[in-house]
Structures are given as C-alpha cells and as structure tokens.
C-alpha cells in the first residue's frame, strides 16, 4: 500500500519530526516501499500464536526503589544547550 503526503505528515507530527517540504515526496516513496515490503507478514498463519514478549521468555527484573548513585547534576548538565540555576531551559509553555 502506498502512503500519501497527508499520512506522512500525520506520522511525522506523531513522531515530533519536521520533514522539510522538499523531502516529503521522497519520504512518501521510500516509506511506501518499506510498508509494501513488510506487508508480506499478512501471509503468515499466526492463528493461536502468542506474540513474543522477550527472546528468552524472561520477565523484566525489578530493583528496590533506593538511591544508588550520587547526584551528578553539574556534570550531567554540561551536555545541555540551555541551563540556568541547575534547571533546563525550554521555550515558555505557560502564558
């Protein structure tokens, strides 16, 4: 099946990804090829098959909710573009 421009724009918005106008045609073409390709999954008979949740049939291990590492804020925040007083800065979200 092929995806049209509106569908690709909708998916891009869900993914919070700006696709430039000049790239939309190519994105439609390549995504359609990928979706066409994975569509062959529909031919597999999976009636009664339990979807795989983990390759080794394990369940996620949990740990006690305890502090295990010291606060390394200054070091960690060196990777952020905009910080002030130990906080991350973002564009204003509340008027």
């Amino acid at each position: 099946m092929s995806l049209d421009k509106d569908q690709v724009q909708h998916i891009a918005m869900l993914a919070r990804l700006k696709v430039a106008d000049e790239d939309i045609a190519e994105a439609c073409d390549k995504l359609s090829r990928i979706v066409d390709f994975v569509d062959q999954l529909s031919q597999a008979d999976t009636s009664g098959v339990v979807p795989m949740a983990h390759p080794l049939d394990q369940t996620q291990r949990l740990r006690p909710d305890a502090v295990t590492e010291a606060n390394d804020r200054d070091n960690v925040q060196q990777n952020a573009a905009h910080v002030a007083d130990g906080m991350y800065l973002v564009p204003k979200v509340i008027e």
Partner: protein
Amino acid sequence: MSISDKPIYDQTMAELSKGLAAGDFSSVELTMALLDRIEEKDGALNAVLTVTRDEALAAAAAADAARASGDAGPLAGLPILHKDIFCTRGVRTSCGSKMLDNFIPPYDATVVERLAAAGAVMLGKTNMDEFAMGSSNETSFYGDVMNPWDLERSPGGSSGGSSASVAARFAPVATGTDTGGSIRQPAALTGTVGIKPTYGRVSRYGMIAFASSLDQAGVIARSVEDAALVLGAMAGFDERDSTSIDQPVPDYVAELDTPLDGVRVGIVRQHFDAGLDAGTGDQVRAALKTLEDRGATLVDVDLPNLDQSVPTYYVVAPAECSSNLSRFDGIRFGYRAENPEDLLDLYCRTRGEGFGAEVKRRILTGTYVLSAGYYDAYYLKAQQVRQLIADDFRKVFADVDVIAGPTAPTPAFKLGEKTDDPVTMYLNDIYTIGANLAGLPAMSVPCGFAEDLPVGLHLVAPHFAEGALMAVGHQYQLETDWHTRCSEDYR
C-alpha cells in the same frame, strides 16, 4: 626483536600478550605504534572518529606498571577500539549522528568499564552508521567508511568503522553492536571475525539504544581466540541493565579446544537459493566440507519462516527505535535547533535537523506500525511471526549443535550501489537477522574470497552456547588461514 616474526600491528591479542609478558616490547611502545599507524593510514578509510592518544598512552603506562608489579589484568596493555555507540566518560560519543556531535558522556558503558578494568587500552572510537541503522556505514554523519580490501566498496555496517579498523590492522580487536547483523555482516565483508553473543549476555548499560529487544554488544577480531579472550572479559551479569542475564560466564578460551568430532552442523537449504552470489556459495560450501573433514556431521535442516525474518525485523526494530529515540528532544543533551517558536517547534526542528535520512525513515516507519489502526496488523503480527521464527530455531537445535551458512548474500558491494532503495539494503541482513529475533549467539568467520573480496561463514548456536560456537570457529581456523590474510595496502 619479538617472538613473532609478524610486524607488531599484524599480531593478534594472544600473540601480543606473549610479547608483553616476555618483555619484547612495552604497552606504551605497542600503543604508540598503533596510534601512529591510525594517524598515517586512516585518512583513506575514515574508520576512526576519535583518537584518544593521551588517554591511551596513560592507560598503557599504567598497564606496564601493573605488569612490572605483578598484578596485571587478563588484557593488560592490549589495544582495543570502541564503536562510537559505547559511552566513554569524558570522550565525545556521537553514535555517528549530528544529534550527538557534541555529547560527552558523564559515565562509561559497562563494556568500556569492564575492558578497562581488565587492562585493555582504548585507542579511540570507531565510525558507524547513524544510531547503528544501516548495513553499509553510509548513513554516518561523519561520512562513509571505506573497505581496506577495495576503497570503492563498503566495509558493511553498522559496525563498519570497527570492521575496517581490524582489517586494516589498526587494532587487533574492536567492539561492535549487532541488532540485525551489524557485527557479523561487516566482519564478513572485511575478512574479520565477528561475534554477537546471546541476548542479555553482555550488558547494554551505556550502549546507546536502537532496538532494545534485539541489541547486543560483541566483538570484531582477526582470530576466534581473540574474540573468546575479549568476550570473556565483557560478558556477565550487570544489575544496571534490566535485561542482563544472571548466568556464570564460562572460560571461553578453554572451550576452544573442543574438537569437531561428532559436532552436528545444520545446513539450511534456503540459504543457498537464488539470492546467494555464486562465488560466495562456493566458498561457504568449501568451508562446510572442511568442517566435515575435521569430524563434524552435516545435517539438512529447515527454517520454514526464514523469508519472513526481514519483514518481521523491519517492523519490530523501527517500532523500538521510534520509542527509544524519542529521548532526543534538544533539551537535556545533544543538538538543539536555534530560535524555536515554541516547545513543539523546538522538538520537531531539533529532530528534523539532528537526525539523518535513514534514522528519520525508521522513526517514521516505527511510528506508523505502532499508530492507532495499524498496531495489530503490523506490530502485533510481527511479534507473532517472531515467535514462529524462534520456534523454528528451537526445533532445529533439538537435532544439531550449530547452524552454518553464508553471512551475507554477496561480498562487499560498492559504496552508493544500494542507497536508492531501502529494501534492497535491508535484504543484506537476510541470513543474520534470525539470530537477533530469536536472541541466539552467532558469529561470522572468514572462509575465503570471491572475486578477491572476503567471504564469511555464518554460525549460529543455541542460547548461551557461545563457547561451543567459538570452538567450531576456532577449530576451523586451525585448519585454514583465511583470517590471517591482509589487504596488500595494509600489510
């Protein structure tokens, strides 16, 4: 003069270890020689993104001192390169992306930490496909990596910088990661050994995530013996990775001596169908004959859902990728778009400008297959087919010890040859993807040449049978010398 006649850069870790122990050379001398070699020769390959000269020389001096005082670790003073997907404290970790061009991790990945604790000396960080998404190393923000066997060809991907570095004798071993074949396919295309262990065997802590149910760290080396040596130091339980498996790590090097007598090797007929290059098929068949001559029994086996493995992967992996890569929002780390209108614009433009074309395609594919109305038809269906594929392997391993076949359908292809159609590129992984979907350990071992380009023999084993898997590879290498071959220009 060293014990080995080979130049220092051509020696395996096992050989270098003897030279260090005998005092033929120091780790500082060895490290210096390889750093100089990278500087001199990497211009043509673009395999190494960051050379950590000062840190390497300091680590080498520490290893020499430890050896002198008698408390050297198992890898003391031995050089290694890390794929730029592993976080290294204080050393830029880009994951091949503009998004992380300025990212300096405040911590080490467990793999990096364990190898350093064993005494290994990190020489630098290797180039890779962006966020490990690619099979040719052409999606890297830092440019293509060239194959040392032919500079017009790809070294494979996503661990293409690691495979090219080991093939070019920049280091005896480099780390890699494998989500659909990203260690084994580059190993095959460069004439090196590549092993992806069982899912959960090696900690993923500090390894930048692509598809968390498939990702696994491993090793690219020139000999299976070196792979066993390094994997033994990397593997094992880590409480910081919630999917790490708590099982003791056997002595992989000791297991290498297990003979091939009585080993049952499964051959999948579909692996030799029309999609396989004829010259590649000839070399792989000759390798199977060698295993048989050394005492193995070849058995025909069937993986009926093999054809569904690539489509299954290209639903599951993008779905997990779209989820994992949502963390890149321009706020806490990484690239951030300039002058955003509002928060939404900041997110959308940061991600639109920071990610390359293939990563965006996978995020969009993943978002699509997880979106309302499509989840059951794609994601849920793929997880069901994944179960069928794992069942196929389970049945086969009731009868055989390993499965053997080709690693990749063709030898190294030309750069630019497969970039127009994403699906053509995806089909490169047809023989390797099954092991990721089923969480199985698998390895590629050099087994000859087709049109002067290396060919890889692919071996897959049951969960946690890395030792048996590497024993088959090692026994094969005792009989052959393909793994010692080196491109003329890098001898």
